[in-house]
């Protein structure tokens, strides 16, 4: 395994108490594999990636867990590394395309220079002209004119910035790339094109990818495996086809039936009645229980275990949806 995350927990400290944004996350990622994480806004998707990269704000408290990353000669636990060691794995081992890609470029430096900075940080011996060549290559790869590398971010359009940020994420040939809703700020057509390109590049370079989105249609397009996240936890994880064809968690089921066709209109996940739980004081027992039509007294009391129901199909539910079963969500 290239990356295996075990029982990852990270809480934010606030005045009202802990926000349990990452609460016991487990997954594995292989070379060349693409994992999609889907979940409602605020369920903790970004927090997972920030915990893996250890780029947490001051009020974040890392609780438990391990992030085993295979360096080529044996796995290391990123969680235990000292900061100076960790720095070596950022961008070169795991790089990231941030949610707000528009603002990921520093306005006062040339775009090319910002990519070169990343390259020279990890390959200090690479001469400048080599680095520039590399940037030109990357620009071509993501569909940007290499002559634009000496321009400033404000001279780029939104879509171009997006591509530049992708090029930057690829700069150090990372083994894993985390893409956190990289296309949300773009219009649908550009969004689609960039999405396809990301997938193409990921396959071509045989990188592992974690793609984060609240949009199941987008996830469907880019992922081999899909993890469904709800209130700080993964509720279901399986390969893409299984998740679509045979969802076992009621929440996933609801998601799938809210989107009859994955290429249809892209709307927010509002069709499951009820509000997502407050991560501050999550309900005891199953966090989905208040919205779940199958909930019973056990669900309200006992937190369901995240277990492998069948091979490579993980579900956290006391009463998984059976094949052919029909679950109805009632909007009151």
């Amino acid at each position: 395994m290239l990356l295996s995350v075990r029982d990852l927990r990270m809480y934010y400290r606030t005045k009202m108490g802990y926000v349990k944004a990452v609460d016991g996350i487990n997954f594995d990622l292989d070379q060349g594999e693409s994992l999609g994480i889907v979940g409602e806004s605020g369920c903790g998707k970004t927090s997972i990636s920030m915990t893996i990269l250890r780029l947490l704000p001051d009020n974040a408290e890392f609780k438990t867990g391990s992030v085993l990353f295979d360096t080529g000669n044996g796995p290391v636990d990123l969680v235990k590394l000292p900061e100076s060691e960790m720095r070596k794995y950022r961008w070169r081992g795991i790089s990231m395309i941030f949610q707000a890609a528009m603002n990921s470029l520093n306005p006062v430096y040339r775009v090319g220079d910002q990519i070169i900075e990343a390259i020279q940080n990890h390959f200090p011996d690479m001469p400048l002209d080599k680095a520039r060549e590399k940037v030109a290559e990357l620009f071509t790869l993501v569909g940007l004119d290499p002559s634009r590398m000496d321009q400033y971010p404000h001279q780029y359009s939104g879509g171009m910035k997006q591509r530049a940020v992708i090029a930057m994420a690829l700069a150090c040939d990372p083994k894993v790339i985390i893409a956190d809703e990289p296309t949300t700020a773009l219009d649908v057509i550009v969004q689609d094109r960039i999405l396809k390109e990301i997938r193409k590049i990921q396959k071509k370079l045989n990188m592992a990818m974690i793609y984060i989105s609240h949009d199941i249609a987008v996830i469907a397009e880019v992922s081999d495996k899909i993890a469904v996240m709800y209130a700080g936890k993964f509720v279901e994880l399986a390969d893409a086809v299984t998740v679509f064809k045979r969802p076992m968690h009621p929440y996933t089921y609801g998601l799938m039936h809210a989107f009859p066709s994955t290429v249809g209109e892209k709307t927010e996940l509002v069709t499951i009645p009820g509000e997502p739980p407050n991560l501050l004081n999550p309900p005891k027992g199953c966090r989905f229980a208040p919205r779940c039509p199958k909930a019973d007294s056990v669900c309200l009391d006992v937190d369901p275990k995240y277990r492998e129901v069948e091979k490579n199909h993980f579900v956290a539910c006391h009463h998984p949806v059976q094949p052919k079963e029909v679950v109805r969500f009632y909007a009151d």
């Binding site: 070169r92 941030f98 930057m168």
Partner: protein, 383 residues
């Protein structure tokens, strides 16, 4: 860039004309002037009186005088001072301007460098010890009653520690036998400082091209230290070093006082904008790239926070000039600010107008410098 500069210069020239006009009429409206008092002197014969009136232009109506003044202003002739009678206003200003400019430039440079580096560190470790102490001390200095700070400094360094002279520009006893005037020595000192500044800037430019951080540092340090050593040697060899030293000793306290007073402003602004910048996404990106902490802080965060700092310089120009007037008065530092107070007390109108006009020019030039700096720092303006 050139177009931008051209536009700015034009704006500034227009502003200057408005300003001179306002100043002229303001002072003109001042009831009673030196001339009136002077002309009332019963010993003067009517003839002399008329003569004097003509000489100062008081036989003509006010608006004609204004036009004449503006015409003369274009040729940089600001008339003749009343209180230093035959001396031209421009001569007085020319003598005093370098001292004020020096005081202003040094304390501004030092306080901005200090404010920049303290502010960025304070914000980077928000609520740390450094942040708490610098914020507290900063606000106290920022709001301290400036004369109190001056008195305190004089008392501490001059009376208690006895390491610095109390006030004045020079020590009169020493200069009785001096071969050159204090002004000449002072100008030469200024030139030395200018040379140092130029060398430093060139070194900074070169070091920006260098790759590794140690190479950058060596470049900066060696060039600065070499220039300092060379200029000290030259001064010692010239034989004027005791006089130069005397001037320097007298300069320390005013510069220190004005610096302490004004550094807090830049520091607080730097801290507050840094706090904003740190939240920007490109800072997270820089960290994610695996850059070391201080590179993220200096190259990415602080560099962006510099822009509001430049804006702040322009906004606080007025305060700094006010601070300069107070400092010069407190330390009997014979610059523009002191002359201003003297001219007010003696109702020396031409000198008063001249000083105000020069303060205006000075502020506008500083404004222009800040604009250029801003344009250099912000790529969004360049095109």
């Amino acid at each position: 860039m050139l177009k931008f500069l051209g536009k700015r210069v034009l704006q500034i020239v227009i502003l200057l004309f408005i300003y001179v006009t306002v100043v002229y009429w303001l002072i003109e409206a001042m009831p009673g002037s030196f001339v009136d008092q002077y002309l009332l002197n019963p010993k003067l014969t009517p003839e002399i009186r008329e003569n004097l009136k003509r000489q100062f232009g008081f036989d003509k109506p006010a608006h004609i005088r204004y036009l004449i003044y503006m015409k003369n202003f274009l040729t940089l002739d600001l008339g003749i001072s009343f209180s230093y009678f035959p001396t031209k206003v421009t001569t007085i200003i020319a003598e005093r301007l370098p001292r004020t400019v020096f005081l202003f430039v040094t304390s501004t440079l030092v306080s901005y460098v200090l404010g920049y580096s303290l502010g960025k560190r304070a914000a980077w470790k928000r609520s740390g010890i450094l942040d708490k102490t610098t914020t507290f001390v900063g606000i106290v200095f920022w709001t301290i009653f400036l004369p109190l700070l001056a008195i305190f400094n004089i008392w501490l360094f001059g009376v208690i520690l006895k390491i610095l002279p109390l006030n004045q520009f020079i020590d009169p006893n020493l200069w009785k036998t001096a071969p050159l005037s204090a002004q000449t020595i002072f100008i030469r000192l200024l030139l030395t400082a200018l040379v140092f500044l130029i060398v430093f800037l060139i070194a900074l430019l070169i070091s920006n091209r260098l790759k590794t951080i140690p190479a950058k540092k060596t470049m900066l340090y060696t060039s600065s230290i070499t220039t300092i050593v060379v200029s000290i040697v030259i001064w010692i060899l010239s034989g004027y070093s005791i006089y130069a030293w005397d001037i320097i000793k007298h300069m320390v306290l005013p510069v220190l006082t004005l610096t302490l007073y004004s550094f807090a402003g830049s520091m607080l602004v730097m801290r507050d904008t840094m706090l904003d910048v740190i939240r920007e996404d490109y800072i997270t990106t820089a960290k994610a790239k695996g850059l070391p902490d201080n590179v993220v802080r200096d190259k990415h965060a602080a560099r962006n926070a510099l822009l509001p700092l430049v804006t702040n310089f322009v906004i606080s120009l007025g305060f700094t000039v006010g601070g300069g007037i107070i400092t010069e008065t407190m330390f009997s530092w014979p610059g523009i600010g002191r002359a201003y107070l003297e001219a007010l007390n003696t109702q020396d109108t031409p000198l008063l107008i001249g000083l105000l006009v020069f303060t205006g020019i000075f502020v506008l030039i500083a404004h222009l410098v800040a604009d250029v700096l801003y344009a250099v720092l912000d790529p969004r303006i360049r095109y």
